[in-house]
């Protein structure tokens, strides 16, 4: 069956190559049947790759350790859902996931454009299949997911325990969907430039695809931040790690595009800029994919190469060279029809927004690739840390938030001072009120950037609130509906505008959360004995008792031994919450000879973070049991020597099954001893305000994106068109 899997990959590659040829031939000779065959190749690719995915996943589910991928990343003790996810924890499996998602989304895109952009689609198809060919070539020749072990082990290494959490099930597919989706606007941009057709139809379609990519990538980034916060033991959600940055950069560029494309639509300006943004965002998405798997940069995610660095660099170089060539040779098509009327207009605000977003991207790019840059310039590789990133991104982000409140309220082409006075009065007042509150009522005055951010966020919320209120009022004047209905129908009639406003609201809420939680966090790292308590901010946390489990770990991840604690949190004497942090110990990934107990618990250890969230604050706790007291002597020992000592009770002459049984009994004894007489444990305790606002803000952004991308009902479109048609026809008659 593995050989069948290989063959499936070969068929996929052949389909890609055929499709490229067919589409290009059909385009050159004006033959629709060849173009259709090319389009159908995309659908075929999706079917073929789905079969490949199924074959591989079945191997994982069935624990078929003859597959190298299964033996390296899964095991009989890995729970079922995580066995499925283990497929994409391996390099070759993740490549297959990437190209499978590419084929699915490409099929959707090709289907949705089956009757439009007929000049452009053949070239777009070739580009998409080109990406497919690249990845399937890697899968066929360099890194096959169907590789076989030379000798089949009885059990696999198991899914890395750090990955055994629900985020692993959804974050990679979401992130990859974001990355792969970016190839669609790229393909259509390349196609449009080749046939020199950059018009309203192209804008409409590209904008939709760019918005979808933007949404997927945004969700992927947010899920990654959440994962970092919930699962990793450092209590933060963003570390300016290269791989985090790699996903953020294309997202920033596509945000810029989504704004500046509106200027192109209305005024025929910025065509070269927009084409460059689309091409750039997609190239950055490929750069991001490359960064994770090339080991070129030191990162928490970085995995050692495997020889894929060179092909990816070649692909990126081709994309950059091709984009530059196309933009330069097609610049007459991209000439601006108008220019900026006034610096005090929505166009100017959007331009500034673009400049800042691109600037942010440049800062992050520079900081991320700095090790390579400094290596090239000075000979030593050097890194810049989060403080450097913060120094530049914080002011830029502040201006961006402020702009997101100005944009909705300012007019196109040219705003007048009188209008400005009328429109900005309320938002400025709100910001001013916040400033006063910051130094009197709300205790945030100690950090000036935080105060500025809160004021900007208030400005945004007030200006958007004003927009919604005025819009509803205007709607009611025309249709005399009840306010909630008026609001809904107003949003329905203008999804892009109000969807955008909702996104801005979400961003403001998100930044409030980020500012508050980074500035006013209280953290304690200390060791506590049972019965001891400590203060974290306004909260008192008391170590009540120790807990332990053998095999039946509360987080259902297949841990062999779990040692944990119960913490009681109070504030001013009143009970607030109970936190149960734990440390999970997993079987070793490679068998240590003759040490059965060690095998069972000396694999990777994972912290199960205890978290109590509310709108006001998060209480976060992680535990690292310093060691365990030996049942016999009461002496405290670190884990490594513990397992070595535990093993002395199990003789090598005992038969294997008996050894395993004895090992579990020994573990049970250790667990009991831990519960009865726990040594002090090392705790990391955090109380952080408004963290939930970050996730809430993200949800609001998602809601806004969905509103913007939702197509207006066709019937309504027809009705409106008829009405306007009549009116314009009237004028036609007059003229």
């Amino acid at each position: 069956m593995a050989f069948a899997g290989h063959l499936v990959m070969v068929v996929a590659l052949v389909v890609c190559l055929y499709g490229i040829g067919a589409a290009l031939y059909g385009a050159r000779h004006g033959r629709r049947d060849w173009v259709d065959s090319g389009r159908r190749s995309v659908y075929c690719l999706a079917v073929v790759l789905t079969l490949g995915m199924v074959i591989l996943e079945v191997a994982f589910v069935r624990n078929d350790f003859s597959y190298t991928a299964v033996a390296n990343t899964s095991s009989t003790t890995t729970p079922l859902l995580y066995r499925v996810a283990a497929m994409w924890s391996s390099q070759e499996g993740s490549l297959l996931l990437w190209v499978w998602l590419l084929s699915i989304w490409s099929s959707a895109a090709i289907y949705l454009t089956r009757n439009r952009l007929r000049d452009v689609v053949p070239y777009a198809t070739s580009v998409l299949l080109g990406f497919g060919a690249f990845f399937t070539t890697l899968l066929v020749f360099l890194d096959s997911p169907f590789g076989q072990m030379s000798s089949v082990p009885t059990d696999g290494a198991g899914l890395d325990p750090l990955l055994r959490n629900p985020s692993m099930l959804i974050h990679p597919p979401m992130l990859y969907s974001g990355y792969t989706f970016f190839s669609i606007p790229f393909a259509f941009a390349v196609g449009a430039l080749i046939v020199r057709r950059v018009d309203a139809d192209w804008i409409r379609i590209t904008r939709r695809f760019a918005l979808a990519s933007w949404m997927f990538l945004g969700i992927g980034i947010l899920l990654g931040a959440r994962w970092s916060y919930y699962e990793l033991g450092w209590g933060g959600y963003w570390g300016w790690d290269p791989v985090e940055n790699a996903a953020l950069m294309p997202w920033l560029i596509s945000t810029a595009f989504l704004h500046s494309v509106m200027i192109q639509e209305k005024r025929g300006m910025l065509k070269i800029w927009n084409a460059s943004l689309v091409l750039g965002a997609s190239t950055l998405a490929i750069v991001g994919t490359f960064l994770v798997r090339s080991g070129v940069l030191d990162s928490i995610h970085a995995f050692t190469g495997g020889g894929l660095g060179v092909p990816f660099v070649a692909l990126i170089a081709t994309m950059v060279a091709g984009s530059v060539y196309l933009v330069v040779t097609r610049r007459e098509v991209l000439r601006s029809e108008h220019s900026l009327d006034s610096l005090f207009s929505r166009e100017a605000a959007f331009l500034l927004n673009n400049i800042i977003l691109v600037g942010l991207c440049f800062v992050i790019f520079w900081g991320t690739f700095f090790p390579l840059i400094s290596q090239a310039v000075t000979g030593t590789s050097a890194k810049v840390g989060p403080p450097w990133f913060d120094r530049y991104t914080v002011p830029l982000a502040l201006i961006l938030v402020l702009l997101s409140g100005i944009g909705p309220v300012i007019a196109w082409r040219r705003a007048t001072l009188a209008n400005a006075r009328r429109n900005f009065a309320l938002p400025v007042a709100a910001a001013g009120a916040m400033a006063i509150a910051a130094y009197t009522v709300v205790p945030i005055g100690s950090s000036v950037p935080t105060v500025i951010l809160f004021c900007c966020a208030m400005f945004v919320l007030a200006s958007i609130g004003q927009e919604f209120w005025r819009g509803t009022r205007a709607r009611r004047a025309m249709s005399s509906e009840a306010p909630p209905l008026a609001l809904l129908s107003m949003v329905r009639r203008n999804r892009r505008r109000y969807g955008g406003y909702i996104v801005h609201t979400g961003i403001a809420v998100l930044f409030i959360g980020v500012a508050a939680s980074s500035t006013f966090q209280h953290e304690q790292e200390l060791s506590l004995q049972v019965g001891q308590s400590t203060h974290v901010g306004a909260y008192t946390m008391r170590y009540v008792k120790a807990t332990s489990h053998v095999v039946n770990d509360p987080s259902h991840t297949g841990a062999t031994l779990t040692l944990g604690a119960v913490l009681r949190v109070t504030r001013d004497g009143k009970y607030v919450a109970t936190l149960r942090p734990a440390a999970d110990y997993y079987p070793a990934s490679s068998i240590l000879s003759g040490q059965v107990v060690a095998d069972l618990i000396s694999g990777d250890a994972v912290q199960q973070v205890a978290l109590k969230s509310s709108l006001r604050r998060d209480l976060w706790a992680a535990i690292k049991p310093l060691g365990t007291t030996l049942p016999s002597t009461g002496v405290q020992v670190p884990e490594e020597s513990l397992v070595a000592l535990g093993d002395t009770t199990i003789l090598p002459s005992t038969p294997q099954e008996k050894q395993l049984e004895a090992a579990y009994i020994e573990l049970g004894a250790i667990a009991d001893a831990y519960r009865r007489n726990p040594p002090p444990a090392s705790f990391t305790l955090i109380s952080s305000p408004l963290v939930m606002w970050i996730w809430l803000g993200g949800l609001i952004v998602l809601l806004g994106g969905l509103t913007a991308i939702w197509p207006p009902p066709a019937a309504r479109r027809g009705r409106i068109r008829a009405r306007y048609f009549a009116r314009v026809a009237q004028e036609l008659g007059r003229a």
């Binding site: 059909g26 629709r32 049947d33 159908r40 009757n115 639509e265 196109w412 082409r413 429109n423």
Partner: protein, 99 residues
């Protein structure tokens, strides 16, 4: 057993792919590629209508003065008329008879 299943799967896959992609090799329908001209104009018209509506919303929510709104509205409607004329011209050409 699995070998037989695998062989069957591959055979089925190749057959399916061959059938799906063999369109141009069979009794080919030699239809010419349709042009995007009409579609492009339709999209331009939709975009222009959206702009007219947007302008009105801006006016009703107080971002534009009366004079500014009316001037812009007139201009946008004139541009819409141009697009409609271009569509008519295209349809006239396609119908093969001048309107």
């Amino acid at each position: 057993m699995t070998a037989a299943l695998a062989a069957l799967l591959i055979a089925a896959l190749v057959t399916f792919v061959g059938w799906a992609l063999s369109g141009p090799f069979r009794a080919g329908t030699r239809e010419p590629q349709e042009s995007d001209e009409r579609r492009a104009l339709e999209s331009a018209k939709e975009a222009k209508y959206a702009e007219i509506r947007d302008n009105e919303t801006d006016y009703r929510t107080g971002k534009l003065s009366d004079a500014d709104f009316r001037a812009l509205d007139r201009q946008l409607r004139a541009e819409a008329v141009e697009i409609l004329r271009a569509i008519d011209l295209l349809e006239g050409r396609a119908a093969g008879a001048p309107r």
